[in-house]
């Protein structure tokens, strides 16, 4: 199918407790469309980590999800500080999250590695001071 279904979610950067909303919404959509549980899980974890990142580091952003029968693509766009060293950021355990964030159980440096682990493709474009775009693709197995 050429025309994907598109879902757009605003990620509110001011409200920590609402992080995860988009992940839950997309999970519900995929369930209704009849996707298998494993695909739904991979999408929702990747999406959740992405959302949390946008809330912690970038003050929110926009998540666009393109759903095809054979794949799900996610594009997360924020206008935060950008990532200085993408390779370093991709390392497990590396985090620039402040102590306040760590104290509530986030910032373990697993966000980006997890996003890579649960998706079939992931790429990051980032410009310091401008923002970050993260693209992820999950193929239906």
């Amino acid at each position: 199918m050429s025309e994907p279904l598109k879902f757009t979610y605003d990620i509110n950067g001011e409200n920590f407790s609402s992080a995860g909303e988009a992940s839950m919404q997309i999970k519900k959509e995929l369930r209704t469309l009849g996707f298998d549980p494993e695909t739904i899980r991979r999408v929702s974890i990747a999406m959740y980590e992405g959302e949390i990142n946008m809330v912690i580091h970038a003050g929110g952003g926009v998540a666009e999800v393109f759903v095809y029968p054979e794949k799900i693509e996610m594009l997360l766009t924020d206008h935060g500080p950008g990532i200085a060293d993408i390779a370093l950021a991709m390392q497990e355990g590396y985090s620039t999250a402040p102590d306040t964030i760590r104290s509530i159980g986030f910032g373990a440096g697993m966000g980006l590695p997890n996003m890579k682990k649960y998706t079939d493709e992931m790429s990051i474009e980032s410009e310091l001071g401008k923002g970050t775009k993260v693209f992820m693709r999950v193929d239906v197995k």
């Binding site: 025309e3 279904l5 992940s23 999970k27 369930r31 209704t32 469309l33 959740y48 029968p69």
Partner: protein, 429 residues
């Protein structure tokens, strides 16, 4: 799934077609059609929220009438632990159990006693190294249905041990047959006294499949009024209660979890809270927990809609009942070593819960077309989620339109706009 028999009934005369239940249904199972509420059986999880919320008392929980007991030669009452909290100044459970016998039951078997046995085996099960954590309680049938419909990846986390009511029923029947060899199994009527419609549905399903040992289910409210007049409390009752603090505590949220003697647990009650917790477990965003107890009703089983007492008052009463009880009266089942993890086969659930998502008619390609059409329609709708069209949200309304169950002109907000336009047109003319 469509064949699941629910225990929520609508009194059409009383239903005003207001949107209270529509807006409160956690699974969006209700629509207002032709001025009355209708429940989609495929989505209903028997949580009882619509019964609780209906301002016109138009929704009722269905159960067997007390007259059902006449069908049996020998009847056994199975009071749920929450029943103990319904009576004022009940400082001794034996008064209630005696009341049930005086009402006409031939025997009583406390579900609270079975709950202590279930707790014992659950402690053993929790010691296993090869199980998925957190283990999620499976005693509330609403949770099981919710997980089967929405959380396929959590099915394997469910506690596989039978809920106390099934254990109680089986032990009650066995005891009766031993005590009265002259009785045949079909002479015995094992009667559960239920706090909620979810347990009614669950047990009716079992009965329909010819499984389990429960024969009939009556409501706690009916029993309350029937037994109240029999409970004179003049004579000291025969001490028959076989329940300790653990069994009684199962009546309220957190009771099942605390009985595991493991502080890495979370207990949530109230259907909205439960859904939030399940979403978090599903996302893997909960701290390290060993056990999650979930109850659909506020306060736990004391909050069931078939009860008569305010759940919080009932809970307070249970505290005074518990005061002089031992921790458990069913230790003897478990004089085992601390590394025993065995659970006998007859304590395990026979029917494993399976993922039962809503059907996707026409497969995925149809679902995509429908979703695209829904999105298109939803964009034209006011996004007020007012419920006047009979659907809980504009999105649900769009879905109904695409499914051919509603038409777009049923949106009164759009209609108002059209009338304004018409009036404007007339003014100009």
């Amino acid at each position: 799934m469509g064949t699941y028999n629910h225990s929520v009934l609508l009194d059409v005369e009383k239903c005003k077609g207001c949107t209270t239940c529509l807006k409160r249904c956690p699974t969006e199972a209700i629509r207002i059609r032709d001025g009355h509420a209708q429940i989609n059986a495929n989505r209903c999880i028997d949580c009882g929220e619509c019964i609780r919320m209906c301002p016109h008392k138009a929704k009722k929980a269905v159960s067997d009438k007390l007259s059902v007991l006449k069908k049996y030669k020998y009847t056994i009452a199975l009071p749920a632990p929450s029943l103990y909290g319904q009576f004022d100044n009940l400082d001794d459970i034996d008064y209630l159990l005696q009341g049930l016998l005086d009402y006409g039951f031939d025997d009583v078997f406390e579900v609270a006693c079975a709950a202590e046995i279930v707790s014992g085996y659950s402690r053993r099960y929790m010691r296993r190294k090869d199980i998925l954590k957190p283990v999620i309680s499976s005693a509330c049938p609403v949770i099981n249905r919710l997980i089967a419909l929405r959380y396929p990846l959590l099915i394997d986390n469910l506690m596989p041990i039978l809920p106390p009511v099934d254990v109680a029923a089986s032990l009650a029947r066995k005891n009766a047959l031993e005590k009265h060899p002259e009785l045949k199994s079909e002479d015995i009527g094992v009667c559960f006294i239920s706090p909620c419609p979810a347990k009614v549905s669950y047990l009716k399903e079992e009965i329909a499949r010819g499984e389990g040992d429960v024969d009939c289910v009556v409501s706690a409210g009916d029993i309350y009024f029937a037994v109240l007049s029999k409970m004179e409390r003049k004579l000291t009752p025969v001490p028959v209660s076989r329940t300790g603090m653990i069994g009684v505590s199962w009546a309220a949220g957190g009771g099942e979890a605390t009985a595991l003697f493991n502080d890495r647990y979370l207990a949530a009650d109230g259907i909205e809270n439960v859904i939030r917790v399940l979403d978090n477990v599903d996302n893997g965003t909960l701290p390290n927990l060993e056990f999650i107890e979930l109850n659909a009703c506020d306060g736990g089983c004391v909050g069931g809609v078939m009860n008569v007492a305010n759940p919080f008052i009932a809970k307070a009463r249970l505290q005074s009942i518990r005061r002089y009880l031992p921790v458990s009266q069913n230790w003897s089942f478990f004089d085992d070593s601390p590394d025993d993890t065995s659970v006998p086969g007859d304590m395990l659930q026979g029917n494993e819960i399976q993922y039962q998502p809503e059907e996707v008619p026409g497969g995925m390609s149809e679902a995509f077309k429908r979703r695209a059409a829904i999105q298109q329609i939803a964009e034209r709708l006011p996004q007020l989620d007012c419920g006047s069209c009979g659907a809980p949200t504009c999105l649900a309304f769009a879905e109904d339109i695409v499914n051919g169950e509603a038409t777009e002109d049923e949106c009164i907000v759009k209609m108002r706009d059209r009338i304004r336009e018409l009036l404007k047109g007339e003014e100009k003319a």
